[in-house]
C-alpha cells in the first residue's frame, strides 16, 4: 500500500510538473510576443514623436505661420495671459506674473 502511494505520489508530481512547465512555456511565449509588440510600438511611437518634434519646432511653426496664417498667430504679452482657478465652485481669474505680490 505504501509502495503504491509513493508511486502514485511520484507519478502525480511528474504530471503536475509537466503541466506547470507547459503552461509556463505558454505564458513565456505570450510575454515574448507582447514584449516584441511593445518594442515595435515603441519604435513607431519614437519615430512619430521625432516627426512631431520636428514639425512642431519653433522654426517650423514660424515657417507655417508665414505660409498659412499671416497675421493670425501673434505673440501674447504676459499681461494678456490669465490663470483660471476653481475654488469652492468659484472661478477666479488671476494674472500670470513672475513678480510676487
Amino acid at each position: 500500500m505504501i509502495k503504491l502511494s509513493v508511486i502514485f505520489l511520484i507519478f502525480s508530481l511528474i504530471l503536475t510538473t509537466a503541466l506547470v512547465k507547459n503552461s509556463t512555456k505558454r505564458i513565456d511565449d505570450e510575454i515574448f510576443t507582447t514584449k516584441e509588440h511593445i518594442r515595435s510600438l515603441k519604435q513607431d511611437f519614437e519615430s512619430m514623436k521625432l516627426e512631431n518634434n520636428y514639425l512642431s519646432s519653433a522654426e517650423k511653426l514660424n515657417e507655417f505661420q508665414n505660409l498659412f496664417f499671416d497675421e493670425e498667430l501673434v505673440k501674447k504679452d504676459i499681461f494678456q495671459i490669465n490663470m483660471i482657478k476653481l475654488t469652492n465652485n468659484q472661478v477666479i481669474i488671476k494674472q500670470f506674473k513672475l513678480i510676487n505680490d
Binding site: 521625432l50 519646432s57 522654426e59 504676459i78 513672475l98 513678480i99
Partner: protein, 562 residues
C-alpha cells in the same frame, strides 16, 4: 546407599566470547550505497552552494584600464530637453553592400535589383561587379526595400546595420550637444563629455534646457548680431536657486547634421569656452565683497573722489566726466564709477577681495557638464592689479562663471553649480556669503535699470522687475588694448525674489544709425540710431527684447502655481 560420582568441570570461556552483530550481504551493500550517496550528496551540496552564491552575486562593472568594457557601437542614447522633446535621436539604418565574388548569376541579380531600385545607374553597377571585390550598393535604405532585397536570398548581398544621429533642432543646441565622428565617438559638447554614458544608458538623457526658450534667445541674438554687426554673441539663462540652465546660446553656431569639420576659431563656444575681460560687471563683485566683509553699507559716502588716478604710471579715469565727486557706495555702482570702485577695492584689501572672487568661482576653471570650458588667465595680484580688478579691468573669466557669481550674489549668498544635465538630486544649500549681501545689492541692481543715472534703462521691461549691471570692456589683442569691445549685461529678475539670471554678451558690436530704440519708461519716446557701441546701447537692448519674448514662457511654464 548408592553413591553417585559426579564430576563438575568448570571451563573458563571468558576469553573466547565475542559479541558479533549478525551481518548479511544486504547490509554490506546498503552501507556502500549510503556511502556513495553521501559522496554524491556532498558534491551536490557544494555545487548548490556555489550556484546560490553565483546567483546572488551583484554584477560588478570593472572600470580598470586593463579590463575593457563591452560597448555596443550600434547604440547611442537619445538626448531630450526639459519637456521631453528630442534634441538628439538615434535612428538605425541599413547599408547594402555587394560582395562580387559571391555572385552566382550576374544578370539575374541585376534584373532583381532593377525591380527594387529602378532609378539607379546599372551601367556603373555592372562595371563595379566586374572590377571590384566589394562595393556599397545603397546606403540608408528603407525598411520596405530592406525586406524586398533580403527576400531575394542572394548570398552576395550583405547588409550592415549602422546608426544615424539626427539633430532635429539643427543649429539650436549645436554648442551644447556637440558632434560625433564616423565611428560613433563624441568629439565635442555633451556628445564628448557623456560619450560612455550615451553608449550604455538605456533611457534618454534629459537636459535642463528648454527648446522654445532657446529658440527665442537665439533668434534675438541673430537679429542683433546683424543690427550691431557683431563678430559673435552669447547668452546664458540660469535659475539662480538650483543652477539649472534653461538656455545657453553661442553664435556663430553650426548644424551638427552636416557633420562638418569646424576649424574656424570664431565658432568657439563664447558662453563657456571664451575667456574675456568683462569690465564694469565686476564692480558688483567689488561692492558685494565690501558688504560681505561688513566694510561699507550702501549709503556709505565717498567724498572728493578724483576724476583721475594713476597707478604705476597708468591713468584710471571715469568713463563719464559728469559723475559727481561725492557719491555713496550705492551711487558708485549705479553710475558705474571707476574711481569709486577702486576706493572700495582698496578698502577691502587684496587678500579679502581675492578670496571673495575665488569663493564665488570667478578665478578658477569651472567644473561643468560640457568639457569645453575656458580657463581664466592667471591674474598677478598687487596694488595696481587690485585697483584695476575693482572695476573689472585686466581680470578675465568666462560668461558661465559670471552667471554663477551673479546667481550666488542674488540668491541669498548660497553656492550654486551651473548644470545642464537634469538631475533629480536635491540641491544642497550652502551659504557662502555673509551679511545679507543679496538684500543690499538687489535694490542697487534694480536702480541701475530704473533710474536715469543708471546705464540699463532700455531693459526695464514691465512686469519682470529686471535689475542688472552693464560692462563695456576693450578687447585685448596681442597684449594691448584695441578699440574693439566686449559688451555685457548681466540681468537678474524679478529683483524682489530673484529666479533667473540672464547674461548677454556681444563680441565687437558696432553702432547702427538706423536702429530705433523704444524707451520703456512709459514716455513712448523713440530714439533713432546707436550713439555709442557700449553695453547700455547694445547688450541691454538685446536683454530687454529677449525677456519680453521669453517672459510669458517663464511665467506660465516655470512659475509655481498655488
Amino acid at each position: 546407599m548408592i553413591r553417585k560420582n559426579k564430576r563438575i568441570i568448570l571451563e573458563d570461556h571468558q576469553n573466547q566470547f565475542l559479541y558479533k552483530k549478525k551481518k548479511s550481504n544486504l547490509d554490506i551493500s546498503f552501507n556502500r550505497i549510503a556511502f556513495i550517496f553521501f559522496i554524491f550528496f556532498i558534491f551536490f551540496f557544494i555545487y548548490t552552494i556555489h550556484l546560490v552564491h553565483l546567483g546572488s552575486r551583484k554584477a560588478k562593472v570593472e572600470l580598470n584600464e586593463n579590463n575593457t568594457k563591452i560597448i555596443n557601437n550600434n547604440y547611442r542614447a537619445d538626448i531630450i530637453d526639459n519637456n521631453g522633446e528630442y534634441l538628439v535621436k538615434t535612428v538605425s539604418s541599413i547599408d547594402i553592400g555587394i560582395s562580387t565574388q559571391k555572385v552566382i548569376d550576374k544578370k539575374k541579380l541585376i534584373i532583381n535589383l532593377k525591380y527594387i531600385f529602378p532609378n539607379k545607374n546599372y551601367n556603373e553597377i555592372e562595371k563595379k561587379l566586374d572590377d571590384k571585390n566589394f562595393f556599397w550598393f545603397e546606403k540608408k535604405i528603407s525598411e520596405e526595400n530592406y525586406e524586398k532585397i533580403m527576400k531575394l536570398g542572394d548570398k552576395s548581398i550583405q547588409p550592415e546595420q549602422k546608426i544615424i544621429r539626427i539633430y532635429p533642432q539643427k543649429n539650436l543646441f549645436s554648442h551644447i550637444i556637440g558632434q560625433i565622428d564616423d565611428d560613433n565617438n563624441g568629439i565635442s559638447g555633451l556628445e564628448k563629455s557623456l560619450d560612455e554614458k550615451l553608449k550604455n544608458n538605456q533611457s534618454p538623457i534629459k537636459l535642463t534646457v528648454d527648446k522654445d526658450i532657446q529658440f527665442l534667445v537665439r533668434k534675438e541674438l541673430i537679429r542683433f548680431n546683424k543690427i550691431f554687426d557683431s563678430k559673435g554673441s552669447a547668452a546664458i539663462l540660469m535659475n539662480v536657486n538650483n543652477g539649472k540652465i534653461l538656455s545657453l546660446v553661442s553664435l556663430p553656431d553650426f548644424d551638427p547634421n552636416k557633420r562638418e569639420k569646424i576649424s574656424d576659431v570664431n565658432f568657439i563656444n563664447r558662453a563657456t569656452k571664451g575667456v574675456y575681460e568683462f569690465g564694469s560687471v565686476f564692480k558688483t563683485f567689488t561692492l558685494a565683497a565690501a558688504f560681505s566683509e561688513n566694510i561699507i553699507e550702501p549709503q556709505t559716502e565717498f567724498a572728493n573722489l578724483p576724476k583721475l588716478l594713476t597707478c604705476a604710471g597708468f591713468p584710471i579715469r571715469e568713463y563719464d566726466d559728469k559723475i559727481p565727486k561725492n557719491l555713496t557706495a550705492e551711487q558708485i555702482l549705479i553710475r558705474s564709477g571707476n574711481v569709486g570702485s577702486v576706493k572700495i577695492g582698496q578698502k577691502i584689501g587684496e587678500e579679502k577681495f581675492k578670496l571673495f572672487l575665488s569663493r564665488i568661482g570667478l578665478l578658477e576653471t569651472i567644473n561643468f557638464d560640457i568639457q569645453e570650458v575656458g580657463k581664466p588667465i592667471k591674474f598677478n595680484w598687487g596694488k595696481c592689479p587690485l585697483a584695476t580688478a575693482s572695476f573689472g579691468h585686466g581680470i578675465t573669466t568666462t560668461l558661465l562663471q559670471l552667471v554663477k557669481a551673479y546667481a550666488i550674489i542674488v540668491n541669498g549668498g548660497y553656492d550654486v553649480k551651473p548644470i545642464i544635465i537634469n538631475t533629480d538630486k536635491k540641491f544642497k544649500k550652502e551659504k557662502i556669503l555673509k551679511n545679507d549681501v543679496s538684500k543690499k545689492i538687489l535694490p542697487i541692481l534694480r536702480k541701475i535699470v530704473t533710474t536715469k543715472e543708471g546705464t540699463a534703462s532700455l531693459a526695464n521691461v514691465k512686469g519682470y522687475e529686471i535689475g542688472g549691471k552693464t560692462g563695456t570692456a576693450q578687447k585685448s589683442i596681442a597684449g594691448s588694448y584695441s578699440k574693439k569691445k566686449i559688451n555685457t549685461f548681466v540681468s537678474v529678475f524679478p529683483t524682489s525674489k530673484p529666479k533667473y539670471v540672464l547674461a548677454v554678451m556681444l563680441d565687437e558690436p558696432k553702432t547702427n544709425k538706423d536702429y530705433v530704440y523704444n524707451y520703456r519708461d512709459g514716455s513712448n519716446i523713440k530714439y533713432k540710431g546707436t550713439p555709442f557701441n557700449t553695453a547700455g546701447w547694445t547688450a541691454v537692448e538685446v536683454t530687454g527684447q529677449i525677456v519680453e519674448k521669453i517672459g510669458p514662457i517663464l511665467a506660465t511654464k516655470y512659475s509655481e502655481v498655488n
